[in-house]
Subunit: 204 residues, 4 copies
Amino acid sequence: MGAAAPILVSGFEPFGGEVVNASWEAVKLLPDEMDGHPVQKLLLPVEFGRSGDLIEEAVAELRPSVVIAVGEAGGRAHLSVERVAVNLMRARIADNAGFQPDGEAIIPEGPDAYLATLPVDACVAAARADGVPADASETAGLYVCNQLMYRILHAIACNNMHIRAGFIHVPHLPCQVLEKQGKPFCPADISARGIAAALRAALC
Amino acid sequence: MGAAAPILVSGFEPFGGEVVNASWEAVKLLPDEMDGHPVQKLLLPVEFGRSGDLIEEAVAELRPSVVIAVGEAGGRAHLSVERVAVNLMRARIADNAGFQPDGEAIIPEGPDAYLATLPVDACVAAARADGVPADASETAGLYVCNQLMYRILHAIACNNMHIRAGFIHVPHLPCQVLEKQGKPFCPADISARGIAAALRAALC
Amino acid sequence: MGAAAPILVSGFEPFGGEVVNASWEAVKLLPDEMDGHPVQKLLLPVEFGRSGDLIEEAVAELRPSVVIAVGEAGGRAHLSVERVAVNLMRARIADNAGFQPDGEAIIPEGPDAYLATLPVDACVAAARADGVPADASETAGLYVCNQLMYRILHAIACNNMHIRAGFIHVPHLPCQVLEKQGKPFCPADISARGIAAALRAALC
Amino acid sequence: MGAAAPILVSGFEPFGGEVVNASWEAVKLLPDEMDGHPVQKLLLPVEFGRSGDLIEEAVAELRPSVVIAVGEAGGRAHLSVERVAVNLMRARIADNAGFQPDGEAIIPEGPDAYLATLPVDACVAAARADGVPADASETAGLYVCNQLMYRILHAIACNNMHIRAGFIHVPHLPCQVLEKQGKPFCPADISARGIAAALRAALC
């Protein structure tokens, strides 16, 4: 079914001193086609602004039926499907371009927040059904991940597109926590399986 | 090297309403021979007393060079190599034989505690070197796991045997925490890799 | 200064099997006047809908300059000043009227979320300056607390009122966690001091 | 009853960059007499060796009926009454004299561990009965606190003294975690109330 609309999935480059980013390691492992839909994988910089610009361009060009952006959430134990993106940027550390916002809006005239257009609870249930510990989450933080989710949903809303879109956070990889006592992790193949299950739930 | 002394590794049966025990799922995946040493795998009941009797018998019969008992520690995120076994039994829930001790000694005339004869820090380092998040732990709890570790070390001490012995706790499996928000996990193959690395460190 | 606009602070009745609610225990300890502003304390039922109706009525009647609703967040260690209320209701346990929503909107035609009109970061800084561990929080959950915060901010927005409004979560009291191993707590007088500091920051 | 045997309670000086130590802040608040027993308060340096020497001297001189050493356990939420001291020293950071042991024994010829001679569970129950969240703990770590507990119990055992002795860890003070998101705390007066309850339980 070459005619089926593509699926767009993004992951991030490393940041914060890490040499790897769990989100891209998982996204890389996704198949190139799911249920006849080509899967387009997009690697994004950990930068406010530019990451949003790049995914907006990809959405405009590809006209995907589903968009899931994936990010890394160190400290979380389960895959988490985000419910809401907030129009606010705050950063404990500067992004990879050196920008460190302190409470600015993402889109000054935008609404305070957007709810994901993904079927969040169905995505969580699908991941669990495939053996992947998963939860819905009520906050994507205020860093680049939240900004990316907001930008996607804002673009879709402004252009009146009918796209199921949202954001999934994945835990650190084992190699990122080897000596970090008590810090949870999830291997990339398990995170990938959870993302794939969520994508399938979103295609239904 | 059929003449090399065997390695003894034990795991536990399910308990506490679970249908699986992460320790046995990991132990099952170990190879049957390591560096010429046959690996003997022993499945133990989650019972005070009987689990200790069974491993004592196995130690007496096999005369292994290394003994590692493995147990499941729900809530822990990393493989943990235990440093110490305490002469005390307390149970929040009864064991699989219905026994629920409330402060009794394991061996009334025994010493207050034993330190593992495993090279604990070398075992931790070996697991990490093989990509498995691991830590040393200062407490094996006061349940059946601690009792088993104490029984092994007590038997070795009383019989003046030169055996490197200790205990490793492994996290829950993914299937045990699917809906338990925020609860860490480790797949069985990663836990098995960590146990194998610890065994190799103990053989050196 | 009887002419100064009042401050409205609400707390909740007990719920979830508890005999006390940390929020009301703290609110009760607030002074009856702050910087010349009378402090009006409102005890609310843990009920979706009715708690919102009652605070809307109080806001309409009192025309306060500042409104802070306070709730209890078991498991949190610090006072948390909420940034955002989401137009969504989900409940793990039924509210005190037996209602257990499963994803409904609070106001079907309302926006997806509201940001607090309190100066959140100034409130956090003020609490800390008074010796109270405090953080900003990006989620007030999806239970009655979030609903109450949303209702307040929606009423203020719809009526074009200039009121600084928001929500503060307080930890459990010591008496609520006596035997709950590892669960954090905060005495009512310390939570009250933090709420008072936040109110003062909001009056500036 | 000036003739009643004294109670000995120790606390520690600050360490690790802190300007205060929660243990001494709590110990300072204890009464100078309890049930007719004079309460002797001893401030100890955070130093392996010297802290042990000083408390041994105090025990030899005072012949107390009860000894409780108190230390600070950052990250713990409740008062914890320790069950066991292990004959092992390991330090993530050097002590206040610059010593950083890496696995040495406290007393090379000493037993692997000592169980507290305090009635641990009665002490926990007494603290809870007085409104103080408290737990028993199976590990006092491997730093100066554990060493101090071991030294006390070793001296008592070697000298065949009949003294109820043990160790209590108290959480950080509020002022130590003001900006440390999610870190639990306990005010000094509540920790002091819990220590006093434990002392009374030990006197029975």
